[in-house]
């Protein structure tokens, strides 16, 4: 082991001990501003922005025999909305209107990179994709799905 490697190993050791002591101190204080304000994960947010992607807001409602999945796609070009329903998930993709972005987000510096919605929505129960009935309420797409036979209450 070279001298540099040995120094790096010692630094790693001390950094680890320091992190443990810090975690212990924070837990003894019972309060951590970082824990109390868990900001959106920065790397994840930056990764999505690099791809120009927004994740749509989703609402899932269990109606017993059916599952209702509502997806909010404000500012999306209606003719680009692509939704694929699988037994365990829904894939959604839609291009965003440039004007809608400009109007909604104004001069926010990161907004010029945003160009589309994309998300894979994990469903809480298995569904029968052939039963999907889709309606819209403005920018909200509502998909009603019958649960797979084994999942019926």
């Amino acid at each position: 082991m070279s001298f540099d490697d040995e120094i790096a190993r010692i630094l790693r050791y001390f950094r680890k001990r320091f992190e443990e002591m810090e975690a212990l101190a924070l837990s003894m204080l019972g309060y951590s501003p970082l824990r109390e304000h868990p900001a959106p994960d920065l790397s994840y947010t930056l990764d999505r922005l690099r791809d120009g992607i927004l994740e749509p807001l989703v609402s899932i409602l269990d109606e017993g025999e059916h599952l209702v999945v509502a997806i909010s796609l404000p500012g999306a070009s209606r003719d680009t909305i692509n939704i694929r329903v699988y037994p365990d998930r829904i894939y959604v993709e839609a291009a965003l209107h440039k004007e809608a972005i400009e109007r909604a987000l104004g001069t926010l510096h990161w907004s010029r990179y945003v160009r589309m919605y994309r998300s894979t929505i994990r469903l809480p129960t298995l569904v029968d994709p052939s039963t999907a009935v889709t309606t819209t309420r403005g920018d909200i797409i509502i998909i009603k799905l019958r649960k797979a036979a084994a999942q019926q209450p």
Partner: protein, 257 residues
């Protein structure tokens, strides 16, 4: 962020007055909650009445280290807008669970010290019926008999039984304790999406209480744009709400009528 000419610390929250607050009879609270009904309503009232921001609220312990920049001017993340007769509290960041109790107490105490006659809290009542396209119903809860009498003027229904979780529940309890008039307006709203239509119902009720006209047509017209603009705030709010036990609101009370 203009220099303050008066500062007051209440429970770790610094109220910096840099404009003329006056002696507003109403203070409308727009704290983030279900459907962002409060923030959207408060923002609409401030914009419609062209209220200037006059007080900045900050806490280095309970709010994230954020400076809001509006038209090139740095601002506090939480601000009060006022024209001297009606004031509106707006925040750009959700309050952390640890900060809710001190903030609730600070808001009620600050209102009491400034002689505010009625605190109006605006919140959403998550309802699956909204996805069916039903018009949002409006309910109220009041802290005092005088506030209840005022609330009846709105034409909304009294909220009878249920649990309330979050900043508004603590503001209500503090208001009861300090005999401050507080009306909580609860508009049925989407559970997971910003709901400007629900906010519009709350704004109409505020207009009746303030005996002024506030046009809500713009709010309805711009609903889609607002849902896009407030996506991130909605995500952050949901996260904060789930950590403060918002799910309890969907439980039933032990005693029933």
């Amino acid at each position: 962020m203009r220099g303050a000419f008066y500062e007051e610390d209440i429970n770790g929250f610094l109220f910096r007055e840099y404009g003329e607050l006056g002696r507003p009879s109403l203070l409308v609270l727009g704290l983030p909650d279900i459907g962002l009904v409060g923030p959207i309503a408060a923002m609409h009232i401030a914009r419609s009445l062209e209220l200037p921001d006059v007080v900045g609220i900050d806490s280095y312990a309970f709010l994230p280290p954020v400076t809001v920049v509006l038209k090139g001017e740095p601002k506090h993340p939480m601000r009060i807008y006022s024209n001297g007769s009606i004031a509106v509290l707006i925040t750009d960041v959700p309050v952390s669970p640890a900060g809710i109790a001190p903030l609730a107490s600070a808001i009620v105490e600050y209102s009491r010290r400034r002689g505010v006659e009625l605190l109006i809290s605006i919140t959403g009542l998550g309802s699956p019926a909204r996805l069916g396209g039903e018009k949002p119903k409006l309910y109220w809860i009041a802290s005092t008999d005088a506030a209840a009498k005022k609330a009846e003027e709105t034409g909304a229904s009294r909220f009878s039984d249920g649990l309330m979780v979050g900043p508004y529940s603590l503001i209500l309890k503090e208001a009861v304790r300090k005999r401050v008039n507080n009306i909580v307006l609860l508009a049925e709203s989407y559970t997971d999406f910003p709901d400007p239509e629900a906010s519009a119902e709350a704004v109409k009720a505020v207009a009746k209480l303030a005996k002024i006209d506030i046009d809500v047509s713009r709010l309805i017209k711009e609903a889609e744009m607002l849902r896009l603009r407030l996506q991130d705030m909605m995500k952050n709010t949901k996260e904060a709400l789930s950590r403060m036990g918002k799910g309890y609101e969907y439980s039933s009370t032990l005693i029933y009528s």
